[in-house]
Amino acid sequence: MQIVDTDISMILISLVAVIGTLIVAFAVSVWLPGIERKFVQARIQQRVGPPISSPGFMAPIKFFFKQAMTPNSPMPQLYNALPLISLIIVVFILLFLMPQMYFLGALASIIAVVGLLKVEEIMYMFMGSLSKSVLSVNMPFPDLVKGAKYVDATRSFIEEISTLRAFRLIAFGSFPLYIALFVPVAMARSIYLKDIIAFQQLNGPVLFTVAGAIGAIVYFIGFMILMNEYPFAIMKTKADVMEGPYLEYMSKYRAYTYITRGFLIFVLASLFATMFLGIPPNIFNPGILVTIAVAILFPIFMAVMSAFSPIFTFRQFYPVVAATSILGVLAIVAAFL
């Protein structure tokens, strides 16, 4: 009987830990876009910037109360559901990082995390494919009669271009992040998160090794690519595809995209803390403060890099991804040695 009671109390404690960690993650993540834009980008650009609560917290609340219009999509309901699906996927990644979920075996492994991140990336392809905004082909402008040079050409929406770019990101753009994740795997000789954490508890954080330090740099560049931040924001370049897959999101659906972005920053920071520092996200562990610190530092560094660089085209994007990926491979080789 006592054993059963202990089990139930353990389950309850685990449940509280999971829910508590999710709440902390959410509470921190809503401030991250504000920190990025107010304290870094605006300061660098010598302007006041938005209130710190505005981009991640107040803006989603505001959008929840806005009127929604039907997007110009062949499947508007699916299109509108995609940001929520993205958010759920990102929440699941965080769940699998928590020590309370390590009993799930293969799901609490780096393969599952990478798989879920890939699914999150694929969402952008679906979003882009399903958006047919008025800003390109659908613009009521009589250009087909204006001496058009190629009347038989297929007419593409600008969102389709961003879909192709999302595909390129999935195919090779996000390589650096995934390669960097395998540096701790190579050192711990295991794909399971609990083994990687145990390895670091015994031998110290991976970050403080040569391979780990190189891997961390590669991870950070991969993080920026995955976050689609300048200079790597090829999927939502203002100069051509504008907001890309997000172009037609409005009201609560846009709020989901904002929340997902903030949450993804926190989750990727947690992933870094887990893989490179050996500190999984857990509200009952003081190490959660380190995770929060990483979650704050990542957007700060990202904003500094973004503020001082122009948007890349493929001419710059390919070499940077290739060089970073090679660096990542070298880090893995060093980790094996």
């Binding site: 082909v137 009589p142 058009a148 040079k149 050409a153 007419r155 593409s156």
Partner: protein, 384 residues
Amino acid sequence: MDNNNKITTQVIETEVPMGTVHSAALEPYRLRLFVEDEIVRDAELTIGVNHRGIERIMEGLPVEKANSLTEKVCGICSNSHIWNSCLVAEKGLEIDVPPRAEYIRIIMEELERLHSHLLYLAHGSEVLGHETFSMRLFYIRETVMELLRMIGGNRVQYGASIIGGVRPRCELNEMRIQKIKEGMDYIEEKVLEFADRFIRDPMVMSRISGIGAITKADARRLATTGPTLRATGIEVDLRRDMEQYEPFEFDVITQDTGDVKANLLMRVLEIPESIKIIRQAIKDLPEGKITNRSWEMQDTDIIRSYIEVPRGKLYHSYKIEDGRLRNSIIRTPSITNINTMEFACIGTHITDAQLAVVQCDPCFTCTDRAIQIVDHPFRKNRII
């Protein structure tokens, strides 16, 4: 420099239309890009959604009123329009403009060139995706805007020129002259700092070198004008031939490559030349009245006037009948540069296409005065 911008004759598979509302465009225009694997093979740029009919409104108005209306043609080079329009009347009515007024007009025009070039650089940086550069350039530009407001009483439409001189409001006293001097020192220092930072940034240089390149031969064939023409290495500046600019020493800046980098540097390097002209004008500002009011209205034939404005050659012409204006024609530099813009896009990546357009410093709102009626109700797809 060759941008590999050869128009292909084969059927293009994909067209990506952009606009008339687009985040990279300050003004409404339609850009159709015919692409293969995101590389632009051909481009078509169409304007025509911003008709305001200014020349039509000008018809029959008293010349003084019509002149002030020309300022509404453009929000960036408003002074250029009213100045050239006044020059047309002064030429036709044989009015002598007092030397002090000529100098003040030159100061206004060069200040406008400064603000236009700084706006160009800021917008170019924005399209490049470099918001920090863009913001900093806008801050530098604020000094020019404040100087224009101080002289003309307005940040956009200063209304400095009138027939026979300049408005009394635009008289330059010691305080104003001192502020202009301080402003020029500040702008020169900041722009040179910016230029130094800009050309040493490898990421920026990688984005702009060789993009949208136009050769000298292409520029001549496409009737390119203004700094975009000079960026290809052709030394043509109408200010050299304008009698108003005779007292001033300045260099005509040219670049060789005709690409985005050359165009951006053209504007950066033209800024110190404008500052040089302003400093000379302040130093040698003649004494005397600023308006000649002793002239009489008479009928004239069509009178034409060309001047060099920040974007290139500006043309105004009209004739006067019973003190009223007839047959008004305005041709802005951007109309002749449209072909260059289309050509510059060819061979670039889609992301660079808007940059290739922007490098020619388009001002479609002032160009866009042609009327177009499309026979929509009958779905004949016909333009009348």
